[in-house]
């Protein structure tokens, strides 16, 4: 009963986080769609002219293709995160999807969320899927969105490595403080995720790295 209530709480918190991320990412989805449509319109307009050289449409076909790829990645991530997570959850797979949506939620177009996995083959974890999503998305979204920040900033780095019986994910961005939001702390901890914040840098550029530990399955 208690476990079920905890799972429901995590599911509710995760859905709220996803909703927040998608609300902000919708602009990126529309931009990708817009980019594809506008470039396709150029192609349509130019292709209608009999003497239009291929060079006149090729760059726009490339641009439309890139925007459709971007759109596909976003839609894939949204659809996957909208479904129930397959158990045991994979930390790396979940991280990639969460990073895609959080990156699209940034206040500026070329915000970067970089995922570095290294040689890690598998990162299956004993932590329930929604808890993994919540533990990754809650701090990452705060880090990306910031507090009303509209200036371009340093990329957010998500580095995954194998620990002792755990998979460790480090979230960091130069000059910013990564932290588990208070409202998520209890639920994430109860689900078996551990984290520690380590401070580095001088007074002017204080940076918090957040190390998240997910026990292996």
């Amino acid at each position: 009963m208690v476990r079920e209530a905890a799972a429901q709480e995590i599911a509710a918190l995760w859905l709220a986080t996803l909703q927040r991320a998608l609300g902000r990412a919708s602009h990126d989805v529309k931009d990708a769609l817009n980019g594809a449509l506008v470039n396709l319109e150029v192609i349509r307009g130019r292709a209608a002219k009999a003497d239009a050289p291929a060079a006149a449409v090729a760059p726009f076909a490339d641009a439309a293709g890139q925007q459709l790829d971007r759109l596909t990645t976003l839609v894939d991530a949204v659809l996957a995160l909208g479904r129930a997570e397959r158990e045991p959850a994979d930390v790396v797979v979940t991280l990639r999807r969460v990073a895609t949506i959080c990156g699209a939620s940034a206040s500026f177009a070329d915000a970067e969320v970089v995922v570095e996995v290294g040689d890690l083959e598998s990162a299956a974890t004993a932590v329930p899927g929604d808890a993994v999503r919540l533990a990754l998305a809650a701090p990452l979204l705060d880090l990306v969105i910031g507090e009303g920040r509209t200036e371009r900033a340093s990329p957010v780095r998500c580095v995954v490595r194998a620990g002792e019986g755990t998979t460790v994910v480090t979230l960091a961005a130069a000059g910013r403080r990564a932290a588990m939001p208070e409202w998520a702390e209890q639920a994430v901890r109860a689900a078996g995720v551990r984290w520690v914040a380590s401070e580095r840098g001088d007074e002017a550029s204080r940076t918090n790295d957040l190390l998240l530990e997910f026990p292996r399955a």
């Binding site: 602009h27 931009d31 817009n34 594809a36 319109e41 500026f108 509209t150």
Partner: protein
């Protein structure tokens, strides 16, 4: 006419590239920037008829860009492209002056709508641009530097300034007190190659002889008791620029000698100094004195006069450029209403009557002060005669009103002038005018009405038809007989008289126009 360019402001390169290609294919000339700040920079450097701005951009977003465009009064039409299709953002954009907004994603239908919107926005921009240019040209007809006036005499002054300013010739500016001699001097300086150099104005009448000499030429340390430091004079300080000597005819003869020498040699020697200091100056001088008389009386050296008066600019008194009175009064009203946070919108007809009939001995300065005082004292939205007429003139007896009737003037013209001046001196009180002159109130109205009618038909030449004021010539109301003289209620002091005819009434309306 060359079509204005379009500026696209969006941080999505894929969109800006495609959109600019579509618009270029449609025949528009397009530039692209990646954020709102760069859009502002581009708009400050170049004119764009239309800006297509994304609502969400780094640094300066679409709404902030709109606000900045309004605040900086950058002429352009802004179409907001929004991915956040909320009613709020669209309403906000329109409230902040957007021409229109269009919602992402831009599919074929929306792109067609955009392509249809742009020519309309460009048309609007073009019309407003033409209006701005016309306003600017109109401004050029009525203003020159800080000078205001659209009369023929003032336009002649502008032409002389324009022609003389680039030269190094000394200019002597003549005119009564308050006509704007210093403004002419400033315009000459501003329009000259010396504009970046200093402009030094010195009133020769305001300073005792010793101080004036010290101000002009400076002194060395120990030159006189108490001179503990050396001090450069106006000639040195204005080197590379222009020195303006106001009331130059008031200078003592020995300073005139030194001034003449300085003008001839372009060198000055400080008081107590031994060395000559080279100065590169242009000299402008002004006076309200009768210079021929001053030369004849030995008050002004003739050789200095010829040195200073290489070119003479004669500023007409305000009463001789009646068509400028309305322009100036309206400008002063707008300026002082704003300065004093008042909502004055114009002058009442009776106030106009007095303004146009009064001879303004203190010229523009007096008019300016009268309007400022009226704005401060007024309680309603319009300026009435009680606001504008100075208290000391309300009694009517103190207005200098002696007339010289030239030989050859008809009795009717003399009578007309007498009625006009008396009418003005009673602040437009027809009953009192009649009483003072010993004629009926109806006769006063008839004379004034005849003046209006004749003036409308004959124009301003009527003014000098053999009748002139002795000391303070006052042909103002005759040269611009637009005063709506109105019969009606009688006996009340300073009461505006209702319009006698449609013609007169129409005149009055025109006068209030701004």
């Amino acid at each position: 006419m060359k079509q204005a360019k379009i500026l696209i402001a969006d941080d999505e390169a894929a969109i800006t590239t495609g959109l600019s290609a579509i618009l270029e294919d449609a025949g528009f000339s397009v530039d692209v920037v990646a954020d709102g700040q760069k859009a502002l920079d581009a708009l400050s450097a170049e004119r764009y008829g239309v800006v297509l701005a994304d609502l969400k951009m780094p640094r300066v977003d679409g709404l902030t860009l709109l606000r900045e465009l309004q605040q900086r009064q950058i002429p352009t039409e802004c179409i907001i492209i929004t991915g956040q299709a909320t009613v709020d953002s669209a309403v906000q954009a329109m409230q902040q002056g957007a021409y229109d907004y269009i919602e992402k994603p831009l599919n074929a239908e929306k792109l067609n709508r955009l392509k249809a919107l742009i020519p309309k926005a460009l048309d609007k921009y073009q019309v407003q641009q033409t209006n701005r240019e016309l306003s600017s040209k109109l401004e050029g007809l009525t203003h020159y530097g800080e000078l205001t006036g659209q009369s023929e005499s003032m336009r002649s002054v502008y032409q002389v300034i324009e022609a003389v300013a680039p030269s190094t010739a000394s200019v002597l500016i003549l005119g009564e007190s308050g006509t704007g001699k210093e403004l002419v001097a400033r315009a000459l300086h501003t329009k000259s190659d010396r504009a970046k150099g200093p402009f030094f104005a010195l009133n020769c009448a305001a300073l005792p002889k010793e101080i004036l000499e010290n101000e002009l030429f400076g002194h060395e340390k120990g030159a006189f008791t108490g001179s503990t430091n050396e001090k450069p004079g106006a000639f040195e300080m204005s080197s590379g620029g222009t020195i303006f000597l106001d009331e130059m005819a008031e200078m003592s003869p020995d300073i005139q000698v030194k001034l003449l020498r300085a003008i001839e040699t372009r060198q000055v020697r400080r008081l107590g100094g031994k060395k000559e200091i080279n100065v590169d100056i242009r000299i402008l001088a002004a006076t309200n004195k009768n210079l021929q008389k001053a030369i004849a009386d030995g008050e002004l050296r003739e050789d200095l006069y010829y040195r200073l008066a290489v070119v003479e600019i004669d500023l007409p008194p305000l009463r001789e450029r009646a068509q400028d009175i309305q322009l100036l009064a309206n400008e002063f009203l707008a300026r002082f209403a704003q300065q004093n946070s008042k909502t004055n919108t114009g002058f009442e007809d009776a106030a106009w009557d007095w303004i146009m009939a009064y001879h303004w001995p203190g010229n523009v300065r007096e008019l300016k002060n009268a309007v400022e005082r009226a704005v401060i004292m007024s309680r309603g939205s319009t300026i009435g005669p009680h606001d504008i007429i100075p208290r000391h003139l309300r009694s009517g007896g103190e207005m200098p009103a002696a007339l010289t009737i030239a030989v050859g003037a008809t009795a009717a013209e003399a009578r007309q002038q007498l009625v006009l001046r008396t009418f003005a001196s009673t602040a437009g009180d027809a009953a009192r005018t009649g009483k003072v002159l010993g004629i009926s109130e109806q006769d006063v109205r008839t004379e004034m009405l005849a003046l209006v009618t004749e003036g409308s038909a004959a124009g301003s030449d009527k003014s000098t038809n053999g009748v002139q004021a002795a000391q303070k010539p006052s042909p103002t109301a005759v040269s611009r007989p637009a005063s709506p003289v109105k019969p009606g209620k009688t006996g009340k002091r300073n009461e505006p008289v209702p319009a006698p005819s449609r013609a007169a009434s129409k005149k009055s309306t025109i006068k209030k126009g701004r």
